[in-house]
Structure formats: C-alpha cells, structure tokens
Amino acid sequence: MLPNSRPRKGHLFSGMPLKLLVILLPLFVFMGDSQGQPPASSGKRQQITIATVSSNYREGLLKLAHEYEVLHPEVEVRVQVQPTNGYETWLRTQIGASSDTAPDIYNANYALGFYERGLLVNLTPYLEQTNPYTHKTWKQNLDAQFLEKYKIGGDVAIIPLDFIEIAFFYNKDVFAKLGLQPPKTWEEMLSQAERIRKAGYIPFAVPGDADSYWSGTVGWIFRFFTDAYLRDTVPLVMSSPGDWDYNPRVNDGFHLDVTSPYNDATLIMNPERLIKAIRDKQIRMDSPRFHEAYTKIAEFASYWQRGFNGTNANSAYQLFLTRKAAMMLHASPTISQLEKDQSDLFKEDRFNWGVFSVPPLTQSQFHIPPFRGVGGAGAMWSVVKKNDAQTQLVADFLMFTTTPHAAQTLVEEAVKARQSINGPLLIPGAKMPETMARHFNAFTNRGFEKLSFRGLADEQESVWKWTVWAQQYLDGRITTDTCLQHYQETMQEAVPRVVRQMNYDMNPRTRDKVGK
C-alpha cells in the first residue's frame, strides 16, 4: 500500500460510517424478510403450524384455518405445504434440533419412530374428550379401525385422515383391441401381459428408482407379496398373554383364517416379538417362501418396461398416459389425476381406462391367500410434543379439522382446485365425487398387509441396503439365492440398530421407556 493511501479523516471509513449504517440497516432488514423469515408478529398470542406434504388439501386447510381463526381470534394458524422430496429429512432436522421450533402438526407417515423417542404427543386421552364442534367424543368422529391400525405400543399418536390404496389401471382400448378382460388371477394377468407385449405395447409401466423401492410401486409389490407369503407367521409375533401390550379383547381367541383379508386387521402385534423372530431366525429372508415370492416378482418384472430401474414415477406414468404401456400399478389418487390429465389431452389422444384389483395368485407350492392392500391412511396427522397448553390448543384444532363439515370442505376445495383426492375421507359424513366413488370399488374390501418386509421395520439403513440388492436382482445381475442371502444378512445386522433406536429391552412383557 502506498504511504498516502491510508484512509484519512473525512473519508468513507472515518466520517461516513454512521450515515452508511443508517442507510444500510433497512436494507438488511428487508433482505432478511425476503429470505423467507416470518413476517412481523400478527399480534395474536397463540400459533399453530401445520407442515404437510398433502398439497391436495392446501386450499381446504387454508379455508379451515381461516374458519378456526374466526372462531378463535387469539389464534393464528399457519399452513405450510412442503415438497414430498426431502420432507422426511426436513422433519428430522426440525424436530431433532428443537421441538419448540418444529411444526405442531405434520404427516406422521414420513418420520416413523418419533413417538418411540418421546417426541410426539400421546393423543389417547384426548380421544375421550368431547369434540366441542360436534358435541360427540372425538373418537366418534374418527374411523375406529384405522385408529387401531396405527396405534403405536397401544397408544394413539396418529390421526388418519383419508384412505389410500393401490390397484392396476389399464387401457380399456388396448384390452378391447386384443379381446382381453380384466384378469381374475395373477397367472392370467401375466399371460395377458405376454399378448400385450407381442402386440407392441409395454405390458406394465413401473418406476424403479430408489424412491419406488422404498415408498412407491416396487415397494408396494414386495409388500403385498411378502404379506401374502407370511400370513402363517402372524401368530408368531402377535401380542400374547403376559405381554405388556396384550389386550384380551382383541387378541384372545385369535384363530388364523387366511381366507378372510380382515382376520388380523386389529390384531395387536408385539414389535419386540417381531424383532426377536428375525434375530432368532424364526423368520428368514432366505427361506423357501421368500424364494418363491421373489422368483414370482422377478417373473412379473420381466414384463415391465426396459430400463425400469432408471425410470421415475412421472416417467412411468407418462408411458401409460401416452398409450405406450397398457397397465400400471398405481395408487387411488391417480383416479382424479388421470381424469384431469385426460381432459388436458387432445381429443384423439384420449383413451378409455379402468381399474382392477391386484388379482390373486393361484399357482404356488404354498397355500397363498389373495393379495391384500398395502395402503392405509394417506394423510396422517401427528402432534409434536411441546407444552401442555400448546398440546391442548393443537388437539382442539385437530378436533375442528376432523368434523364432517371439515372433511367435506377438504374434498370440495380439492375438487375445486383440480387437485387429486387420495380416497374416501376417514371421517364419517364426508361424500366423495361420483366418479371417484365408482372407480374406488377396485381398491376396497381387500384387507391390509400385516407382516411385510422391504428392510426391517422401515429402518432406513436396512431399506436402503435391501434396495441395493433388490435392484440388482430384478435387473438379473444376481440370483435369487444371492439376493436373499444378502437380504438375510442385512436384516440380521439391522436388528441391534432397531433395538437401540426403539429402546427395546427385547422382553415383550415389559413396556420400554420411550424418549431416552
């Protein structure tokens, strides 16, 4: 630096700084606001934040939030719609950092294990309270079977809002051209797939990226297959007399009846018995049952489009929409999505489509019951534990949003905004649009999976490792035996991790302390 280049008094850094600061300060303030900071306080004392990936209910939730604010002027309700991609990571970070800054209500199915760690509110006592908006007990406004299905360790920490299920969508025009009818059996479906392929169409459009193996189509396929092949194993892991979660009203006198899809619907399963069965190799991934199930899935995969492992959900859907693929396995929200997309197509590009249930397997060396549903609740609310006053407030808001009026509002606003609807609302009194109700028949009365595997208890590391092997298997790079051997090892090494995460003492008779 030159000797005379030092700033002198009266130059920028000596005479002007205070003025500069005054000028720049508002700029920093505005910059802060533009980066998504919360706006200045609205003056309301209480706040409820709902952070959801259920973007289809955005309009309905905003309307309900407004109605609630009118009823309770001291409360501000914020509705944040989050992208599905990364939502789980975002939630883990939010809740892991501090529950005070986390949202009050979120989609529970994206962050399993939080209740076991003591981060969520046990809503069981609130179910007995009177819902001030219906003057009935809260549980009377909810679906009892689904509440039971989503209990965690006997507690209700999840409020299911709507129902979602999978079925096969098919191009009726292609079927008519080839003289085909919706298949009655799994084997018939595959023989039809062969004819469809020979006619120049892709039989099934299936996404095969990692997301699909975890929470999409491929994951569903493995789930309904393993559920069917493991129906006999349910008694092994059900809660038994002496177990801390044993409820004689539900489990006493249970007799396995594989002909009834709902036979074990409300049966309480003891998670420690399940982990123990894996640890002690009573349930083995390299067993003959798994071998047959995986072989049949690989046979099914031979009718998927070439390169399915590099296909994401949107790309697979486009194959069906553009009439290149004749069938796809999809979830019930696709009904309204497909209707919307068809109406956006040129008239000559539209086609007739229908839906059929996943057909039952009839050829097996085992007695395999019909495939059951892998769906369940679509949107499921859980409440983050903060303080008693906040919990009471949030429970009150949940009661408000689970009335017949609220459910109808969610449906109507979704239809108005041309958003998809997952399926029937699990709140008695809400009516579905007629088309939706008609197509949804294929999705109903199939029961729910009870014991299915793609990883261990949704522990993410085991899911990921299973995905690595399963992708290679379905691509024909490794044999069934090699895949299942790796899967068995993956499950064994996942056991101690799950035990640690869930604080299990591996004694089914003692209730384990959560939230260590």
């Binding site: 850094f13 981060l119 290149k324 490792k465 995905t467 992708q471 290679q472 790079r477």
Partner: protein, 296 residues
C-alpha cells in the same frame, strides 16, 4: 498493531465483524464440530459420547463405502480431464481468433451458462437421459438408432458414464475463464519472439502456453478435486447412488449416514477422512506443480 491504530480503524473492523462472526458460526464451528464428532457415537435424538476410533474401524469394514471408492476414482479422473483439457482447447481457439469481435461474442456465449444454477443443469440432464420421454433416446430413435436406446441412468453399464457426461461438451465455466485470463496475460515479447523464430502452433502450445498456464492448471485441479470429492447433490437428485451402487460415492454415503440413517458420528468420521483425502490431493498437486516450475 497498537491499540490506538486499532481504535482509529474501529469502523472498518466494525463492518468486518459480522462477516467474521457468521464465517465462524456457519463455516468454522460446524467444521470443527465435525472433526470432534468423528470420534463420537452420535445418533438421532441422543447425545454424543466419545468412542475413540470406533467409527474409523467401522469405515474399514463398510462394504458399501469400499464399493463407492471405485466410482469416486473414475468420477475424479473424468472431472480432472474434463476441466483441465477441454476448456484449455476452447480457450486456445478463442485466443487465436483474429476477429476480436467474434472472440468477444463467443466468449460471452461460452460463459453465459455460468449464471444458470448448477442444479438446474443437472435436472435438465435428468430429462435428457430419461429412458422413456428423454431427449437422448428420442433423438437416437429419430435418426434411426433406436436400438441404442438405454435407461442411461438406470443401466449398470451406462449410469456412471452418463453421470460423467453431464454438462457435455464441458467447455464453459470457471476453467475457461481462468485459461483465457492466463493466455491474455502471456508476455507479448515472448509470443513475438516465438513467432519470429517460426514456431508452429503446437510448438508454442507445448513450449510456452502449457508451462506458463501451470498456475491456472494448479488452481483448476485443486478446485476440481475439492468439488468432485465433496459433490453428491447431483447424484442424489439424479440417481440416488443407484442403480444398486453404480453411482454411489463416499460423499453420498456420508449424507445417507447422517440425514437418512441418523448416524451423525459415523457420518462425521467419513467427512473427516474425505477432508484428509482432499487435503492430501491438494498438497500433492501444489507440490508437484511447484517442483515442475522450479525445474522449468
């Protein structure tokens, strides 16, 4: 520095203070925290406790991490070739254009894509590679090469090459800017002397340009090594490391361990080793190039 001098420049330091505060808060504290947590067992919702070298022992036995090293090697090698060679070729061509107007236009065209966020480019390449509705397969079909169609990112044989192919023809960016600046700064008398001596383009390229651009090459190599070893965002978005482990790399493994599986201590250990590897490569590169300059 005396206290009086410090006081005299107090406003300068006052303005600098927020920068250092935030730098410390968001850059240095997390980095040092990571170094510390590499020696701890730290899982979601549990406090960290020291476990010595356990995380490093686990790394040595981690089969998936080991398999990801080969991918990392090929990606690093390809990245170095892409950033060291192609932009240099383009810079030479631009530098030797006779029309300064054309040179200016082409330079602008090559550098303008830099303003597009990198992730947008990655997503665009995702569309290009889409096996069903992607540009590449449809273009191949249109020219009668439909049999070459692939699930570029979903096929074990093509996934890693497809990831390497992102950004083709890899001509623009910071590397081009640095090379151009280096070429423009070459001593005019040296160039004139080579011209008088009748040096051909290639003689000049090898005897003058390459030795004098070694500083730029060193910078580009260091930035590429750091960028490639740290980058997992594009792989996370495009392939998730798949199919199988075909595009899995250590940085992605670190991300999965931390934010998907909740093994923060183990992820910190992977980060620590990545830091050491990056540092080693960088130091080796700096020393190697310096030694060559001294020889020259």
């Amino acid at each position: 520095m005396t206290l009086r001098a410090l006081w005299r420049s107090r406003y300068s330091y006052l303005f600098l203070l927020p920068t250092f505060l935030f730098l410390g808060l968001f850059n240095y504290i997390p980095a040092f925290s990571g170094l510390y947590h590499a020696f701890t067992e730290w899982e979601t919702s549990s406090t960290a406790h020291l476990n010595g070298l356990e995380n490093f022992r686990r790394m040595a036995q981690d089969e998936f991490l080991r398999l990801s090293l080969a991918n990392q090697f090929w990606l690093l090698l390809a990245s170095l070739l892409k950033t060291l060679i192609v932009p240099l070729m383009v810079a030479e061509m631009l530098f030797h254009l006779r029309s300064s107007r054309l040179q200016q236009i082409l330079r602008t065209l090559f550098l303008t894509p830099m303003i597009v966020p990198g992730m947008v480019g990655v997503l665009l390449w995702g569309f290009i590679y889409d096996p069903n509705i992607g540009l590449l397969n449809n273009a191949l079909t249109a020219v009668g090469l439909g049999s070459w169609n692939r699930a570029w990112l979903g096929d074990w044989h093509t996934a890693l090459p497809a990831v390497i192919g992102i950004g083709f023809p890899w001509a623009g960016g910071l590397a081009l800017l640095l090379y151009l600046a280096g070429l423009m700064a070459l001593p005019v008398d040296l160039l004139a002397a080579s011209s008088v001596d009748g040096a051909t383009f290639w003689q000049r390229f090898w005897a003058i340009d390459i030795p004098l651009l070694r500083g730029q090459m060193k910078t580009i190599a260091v930035l590429t090594i750091i960028g490639t070893l740290q980058d997992f965002g594009s792989l996370l978005v495009l392939t998730g490391g798949g199919p199988g482990l075909a595009t899995h790399v250590p940085a992605l493994h670190m991300y999965f361990q931390a934010f998907r599986f909740g093994h923060y201590g183990y992820a910190s250990a992977i980060g620590f080793v990545l830091f050491l590897v990056t540092l080693t490569f960088t130091i080796a590169n700096m020393r190697f190039v310096t030694a060559n300059e001294e020889i020259a």
